[in-house]
Symmetry: none
Subunit: 414 residues, 2 copies
């Protein structure tokens, strides 16, 4: 059972809205274990829409279409379906009655133009829409069962879950389950090399890599008759990947580095603070994005200006004169000072050169220091990319080294 | 000149990420006046990718592909391009040299698997990527000029703007020019009502509304034979909208509130600092995201814990006991204290209740105070939504009220 998705809407092609409908449908299809190999977007144009429907219907067992079922003149999905099926549009009295009743119940008068929502291709069935006025349409075209749904997300979601997925899942027989492993410390290509033979051998489960914000995610996806069976397929691959990557894996599924850091703090009963220069508050923002962060998080000194590093964090001006603000001794002095003024058990400090102009050190040089009741660690890293990328990657590095210090993982190991 | 877009990535089909790349490309193509009738998504599968490339190349004059150019084994866009073009992959020594140099400059050793990024279909040209390691590929297939770009947004955006659009736009015949007006202080529906007659009458230029992060953007888009003609069409509509919305318009095009704030500070010759509680560093992060922020920005005290508000900002404990931490007097005391300890001319302070649990005041209550050499203003606002939405909207409110204080615009007027 393979499914294609076609989203209708000129506003999608113009980039005025993002195609979140297709992403939602893709997620649901995966959860239901239905294969899904292609998505398309076409504008509100009858001819191009008809061509896209015919193509998809020749490739897939089912096609889900969203959009173009409204009451205005640019809504032509009904016409395109009829043309693709080689039939005429017929007026459905019962649907017209339902429309009039729905408008009447809402206390408004129905504009006559809405009656085009009572039209359907001959031989097609309506799909009821309790969330709005536009009904969906189900029709057989070529080898595919075609489901046309409104583009309004709340209406589409309901009809997908209650009408489309049950109709399709009955014909499928499997579920899909994914496990996400989060790694840090090695580039995607190096992780790929470590897992190359697993990747080559993988069919079910499959393995995929995704790089974002300085981290590499490894996704293991299994297909089976039940969730339990899928998990049984995933377990040995996950164990092997964990064995090979060791400390480089810091979390799975929803365990972001921020969550892992706060869990590790709770376990040790420690509070945390931050001292930031180049990242300008981003490390603080990321930690406090986690609900409940206030249980451990004390606060931050964003010492952007050098004078603030001295006055608020007590960094010695001679230290800055000797080593520069982008240096291990200054990062350590920032961590030390912030621990004292914030009254925090643990502090992560970040200084660096994020651009646009280099600050003492080459662009992208970032220095991180972590102070805990057990001692101080610090390290310098050189990050590629523009200002925003350097800031994001630097905040990730700061959070990762903080996490490793809390877990007793040596910084050098990954 | 018609263009199709193909996004590559199983994670798109699985709904793990939304196809924002296609939306971005669609927006750029529209701005350049290039027709764009179809988008597709296929997974990391060589056979299906090849089929999609051949189909698009038979319909369109140009095809833009994103994704699948990375260094791991699931990156097979290079192979699919070669197969679709009916040629072999060749190893490019010069590109291999560029890759090694890039890794060398960043002080890291290149994993051997990255060398697959030096492969290109025979007869294809590389598109340079100054933002990352994966080069793009340009090749003729069937009737179409095909451009393959990396899926990483920052890299793709740069290559699109600097390589692809210029190559295509030379062959177009009309241009599309947009003017973005940025407003704050009224909801989309109220702005829409003020501009309803302009919206109804609009054909060229068209008017569109976009709500994001608490701001309403109004986009005026004109299509004409030249940029100058398009600007002539836009000017009277822009003037009328500015007349009706007055102070609610705070910037146009790339003038974000952060940029406007830093410009206003430069004009007054003032430095700025921040004091944050509920927003946890987000206001600082936003200000320092602007290159050159260091000319005015001193730093921030993120006083997340109440004790830090007292110890670092000198907020009186009796004031907190009397009014609570989410109150006008405490916000003003935070601004006052931060001005002193940061040595800044101007400070914006934010405190509030962002959830998950209400803090003294109802969820979404945010208090902002702005202190300048000319005096103090403060105001409370109640924001809807979950924790992350409240934090984003609160940081926008703080930046907007800071901007209004600097420009001498009364807070009550919008």
């Amino acid at each position: 059972m393979s499914v294609e998705v076609i989203a209708i809407g000129t506003e999608l092609l113009l980039g005025q809205i993002v195609n979140s409908n297709a992403a939602h449908i893709g997620e649901r299809l995966a959860e239901a274990g239905l294969d899904h190999y292609r998505q398309s977007v076409v504008g509100d144009n009858e001819e191009r829409m008809t061509a896209a429907i015919l193509e998809a219907s020749s490739r897939a067992d089912a096609v889900i279409i969203t959009g173009g079922l409204g009451p205005t003149k640019d809504d032509v999905t009904r016409q395109a379906l009829a043309k693709a099926a080689g039939v005429s549009l017929v007026f459905d009295d019962e649907q017209a009655k339902r429309l009039r009743e729905r408008w009447h119940r809402s206390g408004r008068e129905m504009p006559e133009s809405n009656l085009q929502q009572a039209e359907r291709p001959e031989g097609a069935a309506f799909i009821l829409n309790p969330k709005g006025t536009a009904p969906g349409i189900r029709i057989r075209i070529d080898r595919a069962e075609v489901f046309a749904l409104p583009g309004v997300p709340a209406e589409m979601h309901w009809m997908l879950d209650n009408e489309v997925i049950p109709a399709l899942a009955g014909e499928g027989s499997s579920v899909v389950k994914s496990r996400l492993l989060r790694s840090w410390g090695e580039p995607e290509s190096a992780i790929g090399e470590r897992l190359a033979d697993l990747f080559d051998a993988s069919a079910n489960p499959t393995i995929a890599f995704l790089a974002s914000g300085g981290e590499i995610k490894i996704r293991i996806t299994a297909k089976a008759a039940s969730i339990a069976e899928a998990e049984t397929l995933i377990a040995p691959i996950e164990a092997e990947i964990r064995k090979r990557l060791g400390d480089r894996i810091f979390g799975s599924d929803d365990e972001t580095v921020e969550v892992v850091v706060l869990d590790a703090l709770a376990e040790r009963g420690w509070t945390v603070g931050t001292a930031e220069s180049a990242t300008g508050g981003m490390v603080a923002t990321r930690i406090t994005s986690v609900p409940g962060a206030s249980r451990a998080y004390r606060g931050s000194v964003v010492a952007y200006d050098t004078a603030v590093k001295e006055s608020m964090l007590g960094v010695d001006s001679s230290l800055i004169a000797e080593h520069g603000v982008v240096s291990l001794p200054v990062a350590e002095a920032m961590a030390h000072g912030a621990r004292r003024v914030l009254g925090a058990d643990v502090v992560v400090a970040v200084t660096g050169s994020a651009g646009p102009d280099p600050l003492e050190q080459p662009l992208g040089t970032i220095v991180v220091a972590v102070a805990t009741p057990e001692g101080m660690s610090s390290r310098s890293i050189r990050l590629p990319g523009d200002r925003e990328r350097v800031r994001v990657f630097a905040s990730t590095a700061a959070l990762q080294w903080l996490r490793m210090s809390l877990q007793g993982v040596p910084w050098g190991s990954s």
